[in-house]
């Protein structure tokens, strides 16, 4: 999820190498580089290169947007959950996603952007969110599959960011990762019940969901390393710790075993154990589809964004009323 942010916004011009730099600025840069090399953390008020700040605002806010937009595909199923138990679990999970978005917005705000600016960027389409949320949730099995595969891929992505050089982001990620594990496990559990105790139709429904989500999940890790021009800078800055392809491979290796336990087939005829590499080989990813989805032409891009914007607009009177109430209380208190 986070890895997409570096790849979906084009290349930074000149990586901040302005031709003329003051001696003081060069000293600050040296100190910054040294701290990164030592594996140290950068705090909000520390000096940092402009492009480091810009890259982080972009990545953290996209990450936050992904959490918030990610509430929509599953929120859609809360009223239709098959049992009270599944409904309570799904409610808790969707609430968690909202919480994760809030941790991340707060981390982005430490860099000097306001919440309103961040939301404007999302609502105007200027900022992106993970491509995965532009796919529809057609059946109940999609909910379990999102937990198992989408959250599984997100965890793979997010664990390395707990060591991100920007400390407020790293701290937010530690909190997110601690909570995310429940998301993946509840998804697997939900699918397992259907595969083990379900009807043939229910088992077919699970297989169909896995068929539709598998490839988009592999795309979550972002384009191949040789087509990821901003990755090197991200690695240098300690924002990105592990490459897109490495994470993707790790995800495939872990998931193949889980699919066996579940009794589903991953929809890739080229999926084969490679003893020499010690990894599973997998088939070619349709990157044209990925770029189409990122470019706004995925199955439900428009619906997702429209729903987000409408929720924000519909909430305007609540936000205003709360502020008016707070003002009134303040005035009353001062008068008393």
């Amino acid at each position: 999820m986070y890895t997409q942010a570096m790849d979906t916004q084009g290349r930074d011009e000149g990586a901040g190498d302005k031709p003329v730099r003051s001696v003081e600025e060069m000293q600050l840069q040296q100190r910054f580089d040294a701290r990164i090399d030592d594996g140290g953390f950068i705090e909000a008020k520390d000096w940092m290169p402009d492009n480091y700040r810009k890259t982080l605002v972009r990545q953290i806010s996209q990450h936050a947007h992904s959490e918030i937009v990610g509430m929509l595909p599953e929120g859609n199923w809360i009223t239709r959950a098959p049992t009270l138990k599944r409904k309570a679990i799904l409610l808790a999970k969707v609430q968690d996603e909202g919480g994760h978005g809030l941790y991340l917005y707060a981390a982005a705000e430490t860099l000097g952007v306001s919440r309103d600016q961040l939301l404007d960027a999302l609502h105007s389409g200027k900022a992106k969110y993970s491509s995965i949320f532009n796919y529809p949730t057609l059946t109940w099995a999609d909910v379990g599959t999102i937990g198992w595969l989408v959250d599984g891929a997100a965890i793979m992505n997010q664990v390395p960011i707990c060591r991100c050089s920007y400390a407020p982001y790293a701290r937010a990620m530690i909190r997110v990762c601690r909570e995310e594990s429940f998301h993946q496990r509840q998804g697997f559990d939900s699918l397992l019940v259907m595969m083990r105790d379900g009807t043939p139709e229910q088992r077919a429904m699970v297989q169909d969901a896995v068929n539709r989500w598998w490839w988009p999940c592999l795309m979550m890790f972002g384009p191949p390393d040789d087509q990821s021009p901003n990755s090197a800078q991200g690695m240098r800055w300690g924002i990105k710790r592990v490459s897109n392809d490495t994470l993707r491979q790790k995800f495939v290796d872990a998931t193949v075993e889980q699919a066996k336990v579940l009794g589903v087939t991953l929809p890739d005829p080229d999926l084969k154990w490679n003893a020499e590499r010690g990894h599973w080989d997998f088939g070619a990813i349709d990157w044209a589809e990925f770029w189409r989805v990122v470019g706004g032409e995925g199955p439900v891009n428009r619906e997702r964004l429209a729903e987000r914007v409408q929720a924000w607009d519909d909430g305007a009177w609540v936000r205003e009323a709360a502020m008016a109430h707070a003002r009134k209380q303040r005035v009353n208190k001062e008068a008393a």
Binding site: R53, E109, S114, R115, E179, A322, M323
Partner: protein
């Protein structure tokens, strides 16, 4: 990450987009909460169990103190992470300036005699 360092974040929120080393009072000038429609920012501190300090755990936007406490419960203690909450307006936090870090904290570096380990005592009384 020390407790003190973490809680400083609060005062850092409203830093200008390009914060050169600035004194901690900078937020008054850049604070956009007055006159803006954005709910003010609050810092949240959680006491995870009786006997421990409240520890800074993050921040959130809320219209007033009551709402901030309520939101803090929803955002930061969904899994019994706390038994007590503090919230404080971010613009009320005064912080030391990271630009002054060396000048401010290094003088303690050579005062090793402030630590018990500085004193070598005979073995028989070394548990003192």
């Amino acid at each position: 990450m020390s407790h003190e360092q973490e809680s400083k974040e609060g005062a850092e929120r409203r830093a200008a987009p390009k914060p050169a080393p600035v004194p901690s009072g900078d937020r008054a000038a850049t604070s956009s909460t007055e006159g803006s429609t954005e709910w003010p920012l609050w810092e949240v501190f959680v006491r995870s169990r009786a006997g421990l300090d409240h520890k800074h755990c993050g921040s959130l936007h809320a219209a007033d103190a009551k709402m901030a406490i309520h939101m803090a419960r929803e955002v930061y203690t969904r899994r019994q992470e706390g038994v007590s909450l503090w919230v404080v307006r971010s613009d009320q936090i005064v912080a030391s300036d990271p630009g002054d870090k060396d000048m401010y904290f290094d003088p303690m570096e050579d005062k090793v005699y402030r630590h018990p380990t500085f004193y070598e005592l005979p073995d028989s009384v070394n548990h003192m």
